[in-house]
């Protein structure tokens, strides 16, 4: 009898062990992938652009900085996207075209301000004011534009999230076509950084671009400001309450429509400012709109829709994976870069979604 009990117990234990192992298996796989990637980058990466990190620590450090600073820009743009979604459940598919519009407005302003414009404006010709002013005005124009869009089309379609996504897609189609027609978006337009920023500073033994550090600083500053706004002010509290229970907030006599409008204004403002930074960093062209819609989507899908911390985590992860896969994969031919880095963005997305369908910090609506 005891033999039998022991036998059954042993069997149950074995089954439990198998179950536990199976449950842990996916995590182990991810861990193994991460460890492999780390070992590869640190020691193994022969035949890549820079070689392994141990053999070329300076360039490795540069790639780390590149990723962090690009994450700053990603965060600025995606935080606006996630703010709008978090409160209003609106997926603003026009976010990329807002980015483009904000950048182009700033571009033309800068052309006007800096000695009446002209081709090939050099950063030495641009004073700090001639960058800050267009950036401010561009962002504010976008805030106003966002408010108009929200009031005209989104206010009365509330709660129909699919329809609202379609509306914003239609708006982005129209906006991009209008920009092609009137603002020469078919050709690449470069906003020029001011001369005071466009130089190199030395960090330890390496020379590093100050504008990239500025993008990181801007991302951090905006993150901190948004956090303070959402957690330390009354409007922020209302917004957070609105995220959790919209009906209850408006039943308490708070004007939720006003809150929605504010959230949309801030979200569009951030898209516009992101456009100014992105346009100074990499230029503006009509396809930038789709590219930055994709960037925002990837960041918030990884991080979780509607979460500020998620946007930060998503921006850092996405920037690191895309930069490192571009540099530390074996080069395919005599040219500098690998072709398969997009597949790694895809892989990152797949791994995150397999474990957390709502993203790292996502919560069910």
């Amino acid at each position: 009898m005891t033999d039998y009990v022991a036998f059954v117990r042993a069997q149950a234990d074995r089954a439990e062990l198998v179950r536990l192992t199976l449950r842990r298996l996916p995590r182990l796989v991810v861990l193994a992938v991460a460890v492999f990637a780390l070992v590869w980058v640190l020691f193994w990466a022969k035949d890549t652009t820079y070689g392994s990190a141990v053999s070329d620590p300076v360039d490795f450090f540069k790639v780390v900085l590149d990723s962090l600073t690009f994450a700053g820009l990603l965060f600025v743009v995606a935080s606006g996207f996630t703010l709008i979604f978090g409160l209003m459940r609106v997926v603003n598919m026009a976010h990329g075209s807002f980015f483009l519009l904000g950048g182009l407005i700033a571009y033309y302003l800068q052309q006007d301000l800096a000695h009446g414009g002209g081709f090939g404006l050099q950063s030495s010709q641009v004073s700090t004011m001639n960058w800050v002013l267009p950036a401010l005005i561009g962002s504010i124009c976008l805030a106003a534009f966002g408010l108009i869009v929200q009031q005209l089309t989104l206010r009365w379609t509330q709660g129909q999230d699919l329809r609202q996504a379609l509306i914003t897609i239609a708006i982005s189609v129209i906006v991009v076509d209008q920009l092609l027609a009137h603002m020469n978006a078919g050709n690449e337009q470069d906003i020029s950084w001011p001369g005071s920023l466009d130089r190199f500073v030395s960090i330890g033994s390496i020379q590093y671009s100050l504008v990239r550090l500025f993008m990181l600083a801007a991302g951090l500053a905006i993150g901190v400001l948004l956090w303070l706004w959402l957690h330390r002010t009354r409007t922020g509290m209302v917004i957070r309450a609105g995220v959790d229970d919209r009906a209850m907030v408006s039943a308490l006599g708070i004007n939720i429509q006003l809150t929605f409008a504010i959230a949309f204004i801030v979200g569009s403002l951030l898209a516009g400012f992101g456009g100014v930074m992105g346009g100074s960093f990499a230029g503006l062209q009509s396809d930038v709109s789709g590219q930055w819609l994709l960037n925002s989507l990837v960041v918030v899908i990884i991080g979780g829709m509607g979460s500020l911390g998620g946007a930060a985590a998503g921006a850092v992860l996405y920037a690191f994976v895309s930069n490192f896969s571009a540099i530390y994969l074996p080069t395919t031919s005599n040219n500098c870069c690998t072709e398969y880095s997009v597949a790694f963005t895809f892989g990152l997305l797949a791994i995150v979604l397999a474990f957390r369908p709502l993203g790292l910090f996502g919560r069910p609506a």
């Binding site: 459940r89 598919m93 129909q160 999230d161 379609l166 189609v173 009137h182 899908i301 979604l353 369908p357």
Partner: protein, 350 residues
């Protein structure tokens, strides 16, 4: 009431039948331009739209990944069948093998993406599939061994002998596309009446209840996505035969949104909407492409964007939604007297 319902259904069927007879006459009824350009394009674009509308109407999932999947099918076909100096792998295998490989690979890709997306619903699903679609575009734009930015040309020289070279024999491709469109339509109509289709509709309406009844919700969604990928891959094959050329731009963000517009203009909730939308879209595209929009400026995209916006704002059911609304209005007009007497006779509920 029932009598008028059947009348309206009969009317729909009648219109469908007339349209079918017209397109079956094909080259007899239409000019060569219409046959080879507008109608053939309508058929394959309609098949692509069907793959989207099937998911949205019966699975409750609006997918923007279908264009990426037909792009995969097109790229595979181009790589497998072409020979000589073109870009890509130019394997030069049998054209039929190319078709089979294109369909199989695109369907497998669809199943994998479907498995990833199957736990998302509603707006998350839309975003996720859009991301998939755009990533597929960037993948093939950067990987030069499969296509690169300039894409693969000269596919029309490597079609099966039944198809021939569509430039010389446009009617053959026309009828093949027509038959494919019909088969897809009938196939999906049949599919949604099978136990699988009914389960899918149950999941669309109440996933929690279906899950507690023991149905594997995610598996059904994944399979539905795989099926829609199969349909989309057919559109991809027809597209590259028709177009002779495939490059990533033909399945980038622009075409992704175009297909969505096709679905919305037709109707995201009725299969017939696929071809209605495709036909309307191609007509608008064809006749406004070189037009400069007065006052505001801009081109075709402004026109189609405004039409799209108007339809989304005014009639979310698309053109077919407007048609059904007109039918209802007519019915009410005709039964107005009867309904009024009924209302008078029935005691008002407290």
């Amino acid at each position: 009431m029932r009598r008028f319902l059947t009348t309206s259904a009969t009317l729909d069927r009648g219109i469908g039948l007339v349209a079918l007879v017209l397109v079956a006459l094909g080259p007899v009824a239409f000019s060569a331009y219409w046959v080879s350009f507008i109608l053939t394009q309508t058929f394959w674009l309609g098949i692509a739209a069907t793959s989207m509308i099937f998911l949205s109407a019966y699975g409750g999932m609006v997918s923007l990944g279908q264009v990426g999947i037909y792009g995969v099918a097109g790229i595979v076909l181009g790589n497998v069948v072409t020979t000589g100096q073109v870009k890509g792998l130019h394997l030069g295998w049998n054209p039929w093998l190319g078709v089979v490989l294109a369909i199989v690979i695109a369907t497998v890709v669809g199943l994998l993406l479907g498995a990833l997306a199957s736990r998302s619903t509603g707006i998350y699903f839309l975003m996720l599939t859009l991301t998939f679609g755009v990533l597929i575009y960037y993948f093939f734009s950067s990987v030069t061994s499969f296509s690169g930015f300039s894409g693969i040309s000269g596919i029309q020289g490597h079609t099966p002998s039944v198809v021939g070279d569509p430039t010389n024999h446009p009617n053959r491709l026309y009828y093949i596309a027509l038959v494919a469109a019909l088969l897809v339509y009938l196939g999906v109509r049949y599919l949604v009446r099978t136990p699988f289709g009914l389960t899918l509709q149950g999941i669309r309406d109440d996933p929690v209840r279906m899950a507690s009844l023991g149905y594997n919700v995610e598996l059904h969604r994944t399979l539905a996505f795989g099926l829609s990928a199969f349909v989309a891959s057919l559109a991809g094959v027809l597209f590259v035969w028709w177009n002779d050329h495939v490059d990533p731009t033909s399945f980038g963000l622009g075409p992704i949104i175009d297909l969505l517009i096709v679905g919305v203009i037709g109707s995201l909730y009725r299969l017939e909407g696929a071809w209605v939308g495709a036909f309307a879209f191609i007509l608008i595209n064809n006749y406004t492409h070189d037009v400069n929009v007065p006052v505001v400026g801009g081109s075709f995209n402004t026109v189609i964007g405004v039409i799209f916006l108007a339809i989304v704002l005014l009639s979310p059911g698309g053109l077919l939604g407007i048609w059904e609304w007109l039918n209802r209005q007519a019915r009410e007009l005709m039964t107005g007297a009867g309904a009024a007497t009924l209302a008078k006779a029935r005691p008002v509920k407290p």
